[in-house]
Amino acid sequence: MSVYLGRFGQVELKRQSFDGLKYSVVNPSDINTSKKRFSFDFDIGLLHSGDQLEIRSTDGSILAFVAAAGWGNSQQQSAGTWYVYIDDLGGIRLYSSFDDALEGLSVNAIALQSIATNIPISVKIVNSIARILAQCTSFELNTNRETVDTTALGEEFRSNQSSLISGSGNLRAVWEYLPTEVDNNPAETVHYLMQLALRTEIGSGFAAKLYIKTAGDYSLGTAADDELWYEIDAIVTQAGVSYGADAYVEIAIDFVTTGPIRLRAKTITSNIILQENTDDILLEQDATARLLQEVVA
């Protein structure tokens, strides 16, 4: 019997939106090739630096404002996926990596080129890489199974039928504004979830893995590297900030799940071959071959 602490838990976050596309038009005057910056009409808060966007022309024309060097095969196409940096004025720079998009430097941005005509586009935030939520201090997930009463006349005990499953929860994290890393990998900051709560047009959805156990808990012996986590798609319903002069700034996010909730496990099998007698272990391809064991002192 053991008591487990929260040392080996974490939250992985994946940016995505569930509520469809944003349609707009890129005008020739929207493009500043020297600053590698362009824009289209969108409400403040729709897009955030670090979002991975799929930009697609709705009339099938190529996205001529993105230079050929910005495409994987160096050929301009009608749809592409990039990370974006959004400046204070709503200008957009495109990047090929999340880190660069958070920094927003012109030197790393994908080159743009002028266009002669308007290009109608649709934009959506696509599935991207899951990143650990930085400085997360706690999370809570409640799963709820609804039941419907199927009691009939004459019965002495209530009977119920299983119905829909729903989930909700919250997570708390110490506020972080600047790009940060966890284990030398880019991490997501809780600031992004605060922004999500205020995003209007394409929803406040995100995907998350809530780890109850991550690898590396060597107190568990052979189960040290097992992993156990909830996998959810969720919508931010509330974001609160706790701000005081004598305490660290903490953010509390409430969410409800949408779609299935999965409790998943990854068990690591022990890399031990058990031979219960003194016979050789023969290889099938060559009857004379033996499996050798390297003994590590």
């Binding site: 199927t150 009691t151 009939a152």
Partner: protein
């Protein structure tokens, strides 16, 4: 012995067979009154006119292992490809029982309306309304 009756004591029978998964039934009895008040009377007076009975029942849309579906049986009295004929009656018994004694009202009815639906997070339930034709054949309630 004193007894308060509840839904645990209730049942609904169709042609003498107890229907399963009935969640409710109700019965309304009415008597028309014919006014016989005449000039000079201080109070209105009446004589009894015609009686009528109607009611409703709720059944879970439920198929048992033998594929018996009582809700469907009643639904098909009105949800059918041919017209409703005079023979499309049903013999219902509304029963409250204390285990030893049955308190019944038994009559022949026409199903006058049915309602069934499916909704997210809810069970499918058939609500039926019926109109009694003729007098009850048995009343022990």
């Amino acid at each position: 012995m004193a007894k308060i009756y509840t839904g645990r004591d209730g049942s609904l029978l169709l042609g003498g067979t107890t229907l399963v998964k009935v969640s409710s039934w109700s019965l309304q009895g009415e008597l028309e009154t014919l006014e016989t008040t005449t000039l000079g009377d201080d109070q209105k007076t009446y004589v009894p006119g015609l009686q009528s009975f109607s009611g409703s029942a709720g059944l879970l849309y439920y198929s048992d292992d033998a594929n018996r579906n009582d809700a469907s049986t009643l639904l098909r009295k009105i949800v059918k490809t041919s017209g409703v004929s005079a023979s499309d009656t049903a013999e219902l018994t509304l029963r409250l029982s204390d285990g030893n004694t049955n308190k019944d009202v038994k009559f022949t009815v026409y199903i006058t309306s049915v309602s069934i639906g499916a909704a997210v997070g809810e069970i499918s339930k058939a609500d039926i309304n019926f109109q009694v034709t003729g007098a009850p054949s048995s009343v022990t309630m």
